[in-house]
């Protein structure tokens, strides 16, 4: 028994030592995908229409369609079947999940910020929106000034939003300051707004429009205020892997140029979809600028 135990201990130590010292990140994600035939992408679960559970419990959305395009491009490039593994991610864990390699790419309405660039890399922007407020219809809150002394909900991982609101407080735009209430995810924040836990919810307009569209009575909610900040979204990519990043960017540019991006956009944001959010002029220009020639 004693020898048996000793043997097991030695073996576990060896496994541990081996797993610690094995070289990490030596190969590009591209090579790994080719070897394993699998690509794992992180998506949001509660962000209509980017990534959410529909009534049938299916996980769908704008981001998923882009992910499917990326998987298709991978299959074409590598010439083999690639399995598309979807992993749930939220604003709080999305950066760590890419940094530690659990997901190869995070497609989930993530604003490109210089601070995040230090920990991960980003693709070219694929979406452009700005921050606004969601309030109950008829609420006295019309703009940021009226937030003073009120409770405002923010996603606890939406650091860009938290910093934007903090800046508005520091610059005395909201004076006396408002009370920031943190929620794990925007969908829980909207639940909090419906239950009266907060007076307003602050985040990107595209998110707010999705939250409103998902409500049982969308006409009871309205989006108010001007853009406080601009939020360009990008895919989150592992740091210093230019082979993989170039491939993702090339795929995006191709989608911009051949019109399939617009088709996917209109499927989720165009006329007849559950929330209508026409592309702004700035957004259109951004896509045009990014349509690099071959």
């Amino acid at each position: 028994m004693k020898n048996l135990l000793r043997g097991i201990l030695a073996v576990s130590l060896m496994i541990w030592a081996c797993s610690v010292t094995c070289p990490a990140h030596a190969e590009s994600v591209m090579d790994r995908i080719e070897k394993t035939g699998k690509v794992s992408m992180g998506h949001r679960e509660g962000a209509v229409p980017f990534g959410f559970m529909d009534e049938k419990g299916q996980w769908v959305g704008f981001d998923m369609d882009l992910g499917a395009e990326l998987a298709k491009a991978l299959e074409a490039k590598l010439g083999k079947k690639i399995e598309y593994v979807k992993v749930p991610m939220n604003p709080k864990n999305r950066i760590p999940l890419v940094a530690n390699g659990t997901i190869d790419v995070g497609i989930g309405s993530t604003t490109i910020t210089l601070e995040r660039e230090e920990a991960v890399d980003f693709s070219l922007p694929y979406f452009l929106t700005g921050t606004k407020l969601l309030v109950a219809k008829g609420s006295p809150i019309r703009d940021y000034r009226q937030l003073s002394g009120k409770k405002v909900g923010v996603g606890s991982g939406s650091t860009a939003n938290i910093k934007g609101l903090q800046k508005a407080i520091d610059s005395k735009l909201i004076d006396p300051p408002c009370d920031m209430v943190l929620f794990e995810d925007h969908s829980k924040g909207f639940l909090g707004l419906q239950q009266g836990k907060v007076d307003a919810y602050f985040t990107d307009e595209a998110m707010l429009a999705g939250m409103r569209a998902k409500a049982q009575k969308p006409e009871e909610w309205e989006i108010v205020g001007a853009f406080l900040t601009y939020e360009p979204y990008g895919f989150i990519l592992p740091k210093d892997d230019s082979k993989w990043r170039d491939f993702v960017n090339a795929t995006l540019i191709k989608l911009y140029k051949d019109g399939s991006f617009e088709k996917i956009y209109n499927k989720w944001f165009g006329q007849g979809s559950q929330l209508v959010l026409p592309m702004t002029e700035e957004y259109k220009i951004m896509l045009k600028v990014l349509s690099f020639p071959d």
Binding site: L4, R6, V20, E45, A99, Q194
Partner: protein
């Protein structure tokens, strides 16, 4: 009140119970096997085995499960450079964590076997491992059974914590439905009811073992 919301989403939510059960089953078997080794390690006379096993058990018993799950999901891949995926890392976290509790149950069980039994085993001409396997283990296991079944119920409840990293088990699905339907009262009452019924069934089994043991060991 709108109890229809449960019927509407029943299939989706109950689908999560399969994952809950799977997770509980793997955590239970894995935790028990690893826990038996650790528990025996805690009884070892060799300091090379005793101290690491003791340290392990004390360390993990001092940590909240939620933090252990975070470690294996977010941080261990950073250290090893090998991402494990949501399900696998949750399973590893559960086995690692629950084993520390099983180890103490096993230790108490083995210690409850009277010393005379060992002496009797040796005097019958049995060898060390035979004494362990045929004399101590069966008796120890029997006295451990109630504690083991209680721990199994605890593990079943613990699986709800996989919620924090987005694994779509039962509670996560209830939560997802709630964010869509905004029917908190009905949905959480339903979740509580399901767990209550399943865990009560488990507790009943534990009680039965307890009674049977009383008969077997007067």
């Amino acid at each position: 009140m709108d109890w229809q919301v449960i019927l509407r989403n029943l299939e989706f939510m109950v689908g999560g119970l399969a994952l809950t059960a799977q997770l509980a089953a793997i955590a239970l078997t894995g935790g028990l096997l690893w826990g038996i080794l650790l528990g025996l390690g805690r009884l070892s006379r060799s300091p090379w085995i005793y101290y690491p096993a003791t340290l392990y058990v004390h360390f993990f018993r001092s940590q909240p499960l939620i933090l252990v799950i975070f470690w294996f999901y977010f941080l261990v891949p950073v250290i090893t450079g090998k991402p494990l995926g949501t399900f696998v890392s949750t399973v590893i976290a559960f086995v690692t964590f629950e084993a520390a509790y099983f180890a103490e149950i096993v230790r108490a069980g083995v210690q409850s076997v009277p010393k005379g039994q060992v002496a009797a085993g040796y005097s019958c001409g049995l060898r060390y491992h035979q004494v362990q396997l045929y004399v101590i283990l069966p008796q120890a296991l029997r006295s451990m059974l109630p504690a083991l079944t209680t721990q199994a119920v605890v593990i079943f409840q613990d699986t709800s914590l996989a919620y924090v990293i987005g694994l779509r088990e039962f509670l996560r699905r209830v939560n997802l439905v709630d964010t869509r339907e905004a029917r908190s009262i009905e949905l959480y009452c339903f979740a509580a009811f399901v767990y209550l019924v399943l865990c009560l069934l488990g507790s009943r089994v534990a009680h039965r073992f307890e009674r049977r043991r009383e008969v077997a060991l007067p």
